[in-house]
Amino acid sequence: MSESLKVPTMAEFMAQGKQPEVLFWVGCAGSFDDRAKKITKAFVKLLNKAGVEFAVLGTEESCTGDPAKRAGNEFLFQMQAVTNIEVLNAYEVKKIVTACPHCFNTIKNEYPELGGNYEVMHHTQFLKTLLDDGRLTVEGGKFKGKRITFHDPCYLGRANNVYEAPRELILKLEAELVEMKNCRRNGLCCGAGGAQMFKDAEKGDKEVNVARTEQALDVKPEIIAAGCPFCNTMMTDGVKAKEKESDVEVVDIAELIANAQDL
């Protein structure tokens, strides 16, 4: 299937003297994490299907610096930010889409002060505009009537007040959207943010991802929809910890849309 993916780089566009419509910021998880790479590919398939002229930075992309900043290493964050901004500005990038809410938040909110001003969209927002503009169509297909609950990523929801785009996409699948006890601005964290992804948790009586997964399982979903590669990992681990992996799947919204079309 991989041969069918068209993934041009900014360098290739530049060589042809062209500008893509949008830059797809893949992010570290989307580039290297085995689970997240599937999300990346699902999103690319959708971009290809909709005929979006996009490009990636490829080997010129580097960590936004989000985990370093949240861990307290402002130096490393700003070094990463300034380097990335130099690359993005050299390519005269105007619009960026990313499937990672951490990259989304950092580039959108923390780069402007350092000289990087772009229109930044989360992939759920971008997919929604593709559907709204009729560039992409989606039918319920295999998700029709399925119970799906959406886990709000902190860095998309509370951090940036994006709550509806991912939900509207789920509804487009004609699925039954069920909400957890804590949702939208009250959403409970998956436990990965603030650089927690990269360390063991402090001593406590439970893991955060297990607590959140329990909330999800309480509403008896067939699918837990995620919009963040890190949430995806945490919820997947949570489902495993509860030994529910045969009943409940953790799937990114981009994968849902792509799978609905059997892409």
Partner: protein
């Protein structure tokens, strides 16, 4: 002799307000110990936030029971204070119910105050039951022992006593009862005093009147020492609260300067410092003590009323970790008070006391448990931002002390070396395309 009570009242008023003013001055001085922060932007949005969040209680009512009870006490507090104005004028000039000359409206006003007083009384009792009988979890966390626990109850007792005195004062005021206008509640209390001599009833009325106003002055001066300070500071705090998206954490300017220097090939790293800057101490990165925080963060600490909504929403706290955002705020205030007292005791200069906010109050274990999810910030009904303090303290740990947990150091080394938090080569970043 006939002016004795007027003079006594004037002295009381001056002492009560004088002490309060002195404490407000101290409060402002302590807040100004924080670093400067430019908050002159977004004026209209800030006014709107203050109107909605502080005046309009918009975030309080997200928890409807506590929110509605609180709204009653809050409205009662503001409106009943109109009555205090009359008490002050009467006290100073020896008049009696000076506003009663405005006619029917007076009855309407006092009637409204009486109803509010009863509603406040009932609400306060319910608050007390939630705290002490139902024992809501957030009021019984580990930081809510001794003073914080007692403080909360003292405030409730204060309000119960003040409201009772207000009703008794009206009930035993025969002149007011004879007017039979506005004594909506007190007319039912008045008969309790039947059978007492006129002199005794008058004595009770005067007693209730004096204890009521003295109680208000005591309460006013209690504020500085109490979590109840939020009734004043909620207003500036919501005005100066965060305007940017919650996910946006500030970029340290001192770091930006250094990073720009590092990246600029035209700057000679071995150059002598510019003339006049030799003695300058390089900026300290992050915060280990209250003076390293900015003044809005310190205002946040004084504004916190320890309701614990932040802590009850915190994923780390919910899963048994030591972190409690409320404790972060309480510790910051306690340490700031300690620093303030130190300054008072040493003629206006802070004398090194071998303590600091980090370790002596807030432990590393608490700081590293935060997921930066902003649940605490979202939950706070008065726009306090505990996350910003946690981040500033992490910055100190990492940039001044290199004291990050080992796994985080590995993550950061990976970012430095290969541009990803994991040990993958940057040149392999597009490999997924062909997998």
């Amino acid at each position: 002799m006939q002016y004795l009570s007027n003079i006594l009242f004037a002295i009381l008023l001056i002492v009560g307000i004088g002490f309060f003013a002195k404490n407000v001055k101290k409060l402002i001085r302590n807040i100004k110990l924080g670093r400067d922060l430019d908050v002159n932007d977004h004026k209209s949005e800030r006014w709107k936030n203050m109107a909605m969040i502080a005046l309009g209680q918009s975030k309080m009512v997200r928890r409807p029971i506590a929110g509605i009870l609180h709204a009653i006490v809050y409205v009662g507090f503001i409106i009943i204070n109109i009555e205090v104005l009359e008490i002050v004028i009467d006290g100073l000039f020896g008049t009696h119910r000076i506003f009663s000359s405005i006619g029917n409206l007076y009855g309407v006003l006092i009637g409204a105050f009486e109803i509010l007083a009863i509603l406040v009384f009932v609400s306060v009792i319910l608050f007390w039951i939630r705290r002490n009988i139902i024992k809501l979890k957030r009021f019984w966390k580990s930081e809510m022992t001794s003073w914080p626990k007692n403080d909360a109850n003292y405030i409730l007792y204060f309000e119960m006593v003040l409201m009772t005195l207000f009703i008794v004062m009206n009930a035993t005021d025969s002149h007011f009862q004879d007017m039979n206008s506005g004594n909506l509640i007190s007319q039912f209390v008045a008969p309790w005093f039947n059978g007492l001599s006129e002199g005794t009833i008058h004595f009770i009325e005067r007693g209730a009147w004096w204890i009521h106003i003295v109680g208000i002055f005591i309460f006013l001066n209690y504020l500085y020492f109490s979590k109840h300070l939020h009734i004043l500071l909620a207003f500036p705090n919501t005005y100066y609260g965060k305007i940017n998206p919650k996910g946006q954490l500030d970029n340290l300017e001192a770091v930006t300067k250094e990073v720009k220097m590092m990246m600029d090939p035209n700057i000679d790293p071995f150059a002598a410092p510019a003339a006049g800057t030799e003695g300058e101490v390089p900026a300290k990165f992050g915060a280990s003590d209250v003076q390293d925080l900015n003044w809005v963060q310190l205002l946040n600490a004084y504004t916190c009323t320890e309701c614990g909504r932040c802590t009850s929403e915190c994923p780390a706290n919910q899963t048994g970790k030591k972190l409690s955002p409320r404790k972060i705020m309480m510790d910051t205030r306690d340490r700031l008070e300690e620093v303030g007292k130190n300054i008072d005791a040493n003629n206006g200069e802070f004398k090194e006391d071998g303590k600091q906010l980090l370790d002596d109050y807030i432990t590393k274990e608490e700081l590293w448990a935060c997921t930066s999810c902003n649940a605490c910030v979202e939950a706070c009904p008065v726009s306090i931002d505990p996350l910003s303090i946690i981040l500033d303290m992490r910055r100190y740990l990492v940039m001044e002390q290199s004291a990050a947990p080992v796994e985080l150091n590995n993550m950061m080394t990976n970012i430095e070396n290969n541009g990803a938090p994991w040990p993958y080569n940057q040149m392999d970043r597009l490999n997924w395309k062909n997998e």
